[in-house]
Symmetry: C2
Subunit: 503 residues, 2 copies
């Protein structure tokens, strides 16, 4: 094993296994006798470099505990090195054995103990209460994400700045692309596929690119952020990303999943603006979705993001909706139709671009977050503030975060986490509000500014009330307690909120 | 003729005819030998007071010029006085003869000359260029209206204040109800029907009420405002207005039209929020519409206003749509569907009430006007600002106009009248804009705030450009001229506008 290649996956805490000699029958030795739950177990095997191992060689491992066996596909990492990575999801001793048609990759075996997770490791995020999210250990998770589509293709300086800014503001989900986008900064240093004589070789992958990509996902994990990994997008035409044959698309998905699927903070976004890939049929998208579903033994969250026509989020392989819509009034209908969490992954960007989607004020984007959250859904931030002489001011590609909305979004996130309740919109409410009956009522008055309002709180339950200014980020506790119909004088200013919490 | 009853119809300039003795065959003498075009010609006849003349007696007049004869229904005005009123629409000599089954009302005759209109009399408003309005003399009219639903039922002081404020701000259309609304100020002094022992007598009318009502329409005419007369509404339940039999509804319509139809600044709004009259069938509404269409020989504008479900504005007796919708993006579709002007007669009110519809900021209502106008449609203002100790602060019932939007709406009206072009929305435009190709481009950026934008002006035409701030009410002329694609630096603030006018 080339030590320089060793992955420093900070989210894992421990690193996988190492193999013995490469030409004989394999001897694989697990370097770690223990792996924490939802960490990464890695098996390293040495095999042939002949031909094109990315296409010609298949390798996998079977992990067994009691009557349960999980078969995990591995991948070729270049230089004769083959790896299998898995995120163990149950404590206890697991035995493993490698499987391949290649003799030198077949039959390696070993065992390890899956132990309790270290602090801060809550496992992967999944769906709970039908419309909300939680980590595997039951801890609630409320996405307040941002978009850094191409940040891994930016300069190291900007990548570090992105991480520093994400840490400062605390976004807990980052949408990021595996493939580069066309942009002015020129050709990216590396692609997921190797560049040969100015053309991408779609029959191979670039392990160096992926090692860096994995590192960045791990870096996000250290910040407590989920990586919403965008697998396809329509912005790669100059390199032919929109013209890959379906067989290449599928091989690419399996490779990405074999490499990244063991990282607990990964989500799969099958595409950004899938419908802008005009020649791709719905059958092809459905098929690719099923490939992801089948290949990803960890069962990470899966969705797809649209520009115009929505994908049918009711399809069984979709775990949640990932919308680009600016109408926040239909969330209850969509929830009924799809039975899944609804995430608004684009609601336009704070910025100053000439494009319609890229010049919201901080006030307007803050307003949209409040509208979405009080509709019982989740929202994603983005920033595109162009500055003269600066080529890197677009958080959509790397988070510089000059805007005024991020701290307001952080304020809203803080409020949501205080109760840690998956809120549902009160559909029969006169003013927009969400919460949990008898426990929580979060009103958002949007452009309305009643001088006072009779809040129809339930009888027989005692609440405390707070006047909340989403822009000034103030919470003013109202004196006394409330029960039943409660007439409360308001500020008369628009874009205000009121919260009632059960005493 | 009782001289005290003489109508002082300021919009007419001249007053109609007087009759002779009441018991013999009629001798009617036109007091005025001339009536201005679109003024009022009135025939006064004396007849029987026996029984219930409102129901029992029909009277009409036939006006003839050359081969054209117009038959106009008259009405009973109480105290044995019968009147026929007509708005002559063609210059020249008109002969007239009265018609009735009652001998003393039949066969009166006379003639008058219809002469050129006096200054400021442009005739009634009609539709032009399919989606816009003009007066009968061809002068363009662009509605910038307000709502004073119940102003004629308020105190004289508030009625005068309403007129003074309308004059100050310059709204040119006023939506007003014939029937009173339920409101806190107590029982109105008069109803369109006489109150007998605490109950309205729906078999008669109250001429005194109507004389006052007509005066108020005339007062609006003096200000250059159209009276959008609302014939039915759902806010009169305590008095039984929602339970009148269809035969009463129809008689009421014919009476109102006979009295008011000769006033050139009248529009008919069949109802406000018609769909809140839950037991009325669509067939009944259609029938009432046809009654108005048939009875009103002047052919005033006709529409109906909804709360929830829209009336089908494509129906042939509707002249324009009168919407209560807060979605301003579908105007082009609606225009295609209906082929008529689109007026947003309620877009919520500037105010501070607890009700959702009554607490917009001035900024938000101003924004809505701009959105509507740059969609190629028209918009109506309303204000409901409640003040402690004041019972008359609601412009929806009488225009005190404390709000911040009226002067901004007046600013927009001024801009629209400067070009006097019926604008159509540029449906293929990237940012919302309206105008007339090659002549006028009015952009409204709403919440967008691009730092700059390349305006796709047509090649080969020279324009001057202006930066417009709808809230500050400033127009900043851009230096030089523009043709073709023109990159212009903008203020970076939201809710701004830009206008290009052909040199």
């Amino acid at each position: 094993m080339d030590r320089r290649e060793a992955l420093k996956l900070a989210v894992t805490g421990t690193l996988g296994a190492v193999s013995g000699g490469s030409m004989a029958a394999p001897r694989a030795v697990s370097a770690a006798a223990t792996v924490e739950r939802w960490g990464v177990h890695e098996i390293v095997l040495h095999g042939s470099m002949a031909g094109n191992p990315f296409v010609d060689v298949e390798v996998a491992a079977e992990y067994t505990q009691g009557v349960r066996t999980v078969r995990v596909a591995g991948f070729y990492d270049g230089d004769g090195v083959y790896r299998v990575r898995w995120m163990p999801d149950e404590p206890g001793v697991w035995r493993w054995v490698s499987r391949s048609a290649e003799k030198e990759l077949n039959g390696a075996h070993g065992e390890f103990e899956c132990v309790a997770p270290t602090e801060g490791n809550h496992g992967p995020v999944g769906v709970t209460e039908r419309f909300h999210f939680r980590y595997a250990d039951g801890t609630r998770y409320f996405p307040f994400g941002t978009t850094c589509y191409a940040w891994v293709f930016e300069s190291e300086r900007l990548q570090e700045m992105t991480l520093a800014n994400l840490k400062r503001v605390g976004f807990n989900k980052v949408r990021m692309c595996v493939m580069p986008k066309t942009f002015d900064a020129g050709e990216p240093e590396r692609h997921p596929f190797p560049m040969v004589a100015g053309k991408l070789d779609f029959t191979r992958f670039d392990p160096e690119f992926f090692r860096h990509f994995e590192q960045r996902i791990a870096d996000l994990g250290k910040l407590g952020a989920e990586a919403d990994v965008i697998l396809f997008h329509p912005y790669g035409k100059p390199w032919g990303y929109d013209q890959m044959p379906q067989e290449v698309n599928e091989r690419y998905l399996r490779y990405v999943i074999a490499r990244l699927g063991s990282l607990r903070n990964v989500w799969w976004s099958l595409a950004n603006e899938y419908d802008l890939l005009k020649t791709w049929t719905m059958e092809e998208w459905d098929h690719l979705f099923r490939v992801v579903q089948e290949a990803d033994v960890a069962g990470h969250l899966r969705s797809i993001h649209h520009s115009g026509p929505m994908y049918d989020y009711a399809k069984p392989w979709v775990t949640h909706a990932s919308l680009q819509v600016y109408d926040f009034d239909h969330v209850p209908e969509w929830k009924k139709a799809w039975g899944k969490p609804v995430v608004f992954d684009e609601v336009m960007y704070e910025g100053n671009l000439a494009r319609r989607w890229g010049n919201l004020t901080g006030e307007e984007l803050t307003r949209r977050f409040w509208l979405v959250v009080t509709a019982g859904a989740y929202c994603t931030h983005g920033e595109v503030i162009a500055r003269k002489g600066a080529k890197d001011g677009l958080s959509a590609d790397g988070a510089v975060l000059l805007g005024e909305s991020p701290e307001r979004i952080a304020f809203l996130r803080k409020l949501v986490y205080e109760d840690a309740i998956g809120m549902e919109q009160y559909e029969d409410a006169y003013y927009r509000s969400a919460g949990k009956k008898g426990e929580l009522y979060l009103y958002y008055f949007d452009f309305h500014r009643p001088a006072s309002y009779v809040f129809p709180l339930p009888e027989g339950v005692t609440f405390r009330g707070e006047l909340i200014d989403p822009w000034a980020m103030t919470v003013l506790a109202l004196p006394g307690t409330f029960t039943g119909k409660s007439d409360i004088e308001l500020s008369g200013r628009p874009y205000q909120a009121v919260r009632f919490r059960k005493v």
